[in-house]
């Protein structure tokens, strides 16, 4: 080897570290910056934003005016379907999180953050928080349109608060799952494809028709899958249908999703980061 190496492998003591020049951002600055970034991304991704608002709105109009009459001739179907549309809407809106995360993980920008003295995982926090804000906004639009087409909730202010809190928790849960899917996917396109399964789940629940109208095996699945208690709980809070133990199941499932996504996501983030 060269003389240069020989020179340093000699008795030379290692040089003391020069002063740090790049400071760790204080407190939650990194999180705040990444949330700002992701919100900007959301606002500039006009197509995705439009889809997140328009698609559920159109679906609601479709279910209310086209299928509604056949499903419930009394005209009360709108009250039945709005809570489901809200969840569907959250699913659509959250699915772009998988795309955004996958894009960050594959474009090399994550390496820049990981060579800086900060929690690089704050990038994910940014995407998740932006998704929650985005979807709460879309939910608001959906509820507003629903009120225009005849949705008549019976909720007290406290029940509204509880419903919004549960919706936010659900959005957080499904967004976390989509973020983890974004980490697991090898490309943004793949992230989009994997997310499809999650978007399909609400259709196999009590979202659009009561579970007891389904064939036996499907009814069992619909009864026990996580979306049903979440929808039932929101429905009960907004329109006064019987709650039963739906609220506990709803919160339990959401928390379970968040825990799974956090554990899986942390593992994926470390693994992907190490391998690239």
């Amino acid at each position: 080897m060269s003389t240069l190496i020989d020179a340093v492998t000699g008795p030379t003591a290692p040089a003391p570290a020069p002063p740090a020049l790049r400071m760790r951002p204080r407190g939650l600055t990194a999180e705040a910056v990444f949330i700002g970034r992701s919100v900007t991304h959301s606002l500039r991704d006009t197509e995705a934003l439009l889809m997140a608002v328009l698609l559920p709105t159109l679906l609601m109009l479709l279910f209310t005016f086209v299928f509604g009459g056949a499903l419930d001739p009394s005209g009360g179907y709108v009250d039945y379907v709005v809570p489901s549309i809200i969840l569907l809407c959250a699913g659509f809106g959250a699915s772009s999180t998988a795309l955004y995360v996958a894009r960050d993980m594959t474009t090399g920008i994550i390496d820049r953050f990981r060579t800086m003295p900060l929690r690089a995982s704050a990038v994910l926090t940014g995407h998740v928080v932006a998704s929650v804000l985005r979807n709460l906004f879309a939910t608001g639009v959906v509820i507003a349109v629903a009120l225009l087409v005849g949705f008549r909730p019976t909720a007290t202010p406290a029940e509204w608060l509880a419903a919004v809190a549960l919706i936010a928790l659900y959005i957080l849960a499904i967004t976390s799952l989509f973020a983890a899917i974004g980490l697991a996917a090898s490309s943004p396109d793949a992230a989009n494809a994997y997310g499809f399964i999650l978007l399909f789940l609400p259709y196999l629940s009590s979202a659009f028709v009561p579970v007891d109208t389904l064939p036996g095996w499907l009814a069992w699945f619909a009864e026990h899958q996580p979306i049903t208690p979440i929808i039932e709980a929101i429905r009960s809070l907004l329109t006064g249908t019987p709650m039963g133990d739906a609220a506990w199941w709803a919160v339990g499932w959401c928390v379970l999703f968040i825990v799974i996504a956090a554990v899986w996501g942390t593992w994926l983030f470390r693994r992907r980061a190490g391998r690239r």
Binding site: L4, V8, P25, R112, M116, A273
Partner: protein, 305 residues
């Protein structure tokens, strides 16, 4: 002499393939160090380990006085990395990218904005500052990428193939900027596939071959091993019939031409002679006695050098 980067016995394997084996490096503070090698030689892996993105399987490395394994945040607060793929946010504007990075580097809001304006000026991006990066050209992206790396000064600046894929003009612009950065006193560690680039920028060059340093020295020292210009004998359709390295002297050139003249006499009619600068292939041939870029290795590891 102060050492800014020191690696001792670094080894790394991926899925059973030895990417780096017993790598030793020492880079003097304030110098420009070029790591030269073909695709798959382990250049990016070396950078990844030195910048704390990857943990070595064996060996130790110290960058700007901090140990990459024991004190990764210590390393991170003293370095900057410009990776192979431009690490810029395409949705944001150039200005927003710079402000974001400045905020993430510990600057306050106002200081971050001021720093962004400074860098936009310096990197000739002021006009495009309010445009989204998605609309930037390749050269502009690289300039922004480099500007992002310089949002706060760094003791050691890592550049992974900074000019790959750029046209000649953008490449020369970037060389100029890199030279400026080096003149300002930072240690620059760059990887490249181009001998010319290493020659132009680096004070010392190490040749990386199959995860080991095959040779190390100043550009003139390495060139002395490679020789000077290469004389090629070209057939009528431009195919290379024969080539002879020269030692850069008139005498050496004449000897090479004489030799090719004899070959030309016995081969095709209309043969021409061309002179070219030694390439990475020639360096490899001279140092390792075999051509560069063992293809199977690049395939196994992926596309990154």
């Amino acid at each position: 002499m102060t050492i800014a980067i020191e690696a001792r016995g670094i080894a790394k394997r991926f899925r059973g393939v030895e990417v780096l084996q017993d790598l030793h490096l020492a880079v003097e503070a304030g110098s420009v160090f070029g790591l030269l090698g073909p695709n798959g030689a382990g250049k990016t892996t070396t950078i990844d380990i030195l910048t704390t993105l990857l943990r070595p399987d064996a060996g130790t490395a110290t960058v700007a006085g901090a140990d990459v394994r024991r004190d990764p945040d210590g390393v991170r607060s003293r370095i900057s990395l410009t990776g192979q793929s431009a690490a810029v946010d395409e949705v944001l504007t150039g200005r927003e990218n710079l402000v974001m990075l400045a905020r993430l580097s510990g600057l306050g809001r106002r200081a971050a904005r001021a720093r962004a304006e400074e860098l936009l000026e310096r990197f000739d991006l002021a006009e495009a500052a309010a445009r989204r990066v998605a609309a930037y050209s390749g050269g502009m992206r690289r300039r922004l990428d480099l500007a992002l790396s310089l949002v706060v000064p760094a003791h050691v600046i890592f550049l992974d193939e900074p000019t790959t894929g750029l046209d000649t003009r953008s490449r020369q612009e970037l060389w100029h900027v890199i030279r400026e950065v080096a003149d300002a006193g930072a240690t620059v560690f760059l990887t490249t596939q181009y001998l010319e680039e290493a020659d132009r920028l680096a004070d010392r060059i190490a040749v990386l071959d199959r995860g080991r340093i095959a040779a190390e020295g100043t550009a003139p020292e390495l060139k002395a091993r490679v020789g000077g210009e290469v004389v090629e004998l070209l057939g009528p359709d431009g195919e290379v019939l024969a080539e002879r390295p020269t030692d850069g002297t008139v005498h050496g050139l004449r000897a090479a031409v004489d030799e090719l003249d004899r070959i030309a006499a016995s081969s095709a009619e209309g043969a021409r002679v061309a002179i070219r600068r030694p390439s990475l292939d020639d360096v490899f041939l001279a140092i390792t006695s075999r051509p560069a870029a063992p293809a199977h290795r690049a395939d196994l590891i992926g596309t990154k050098g």
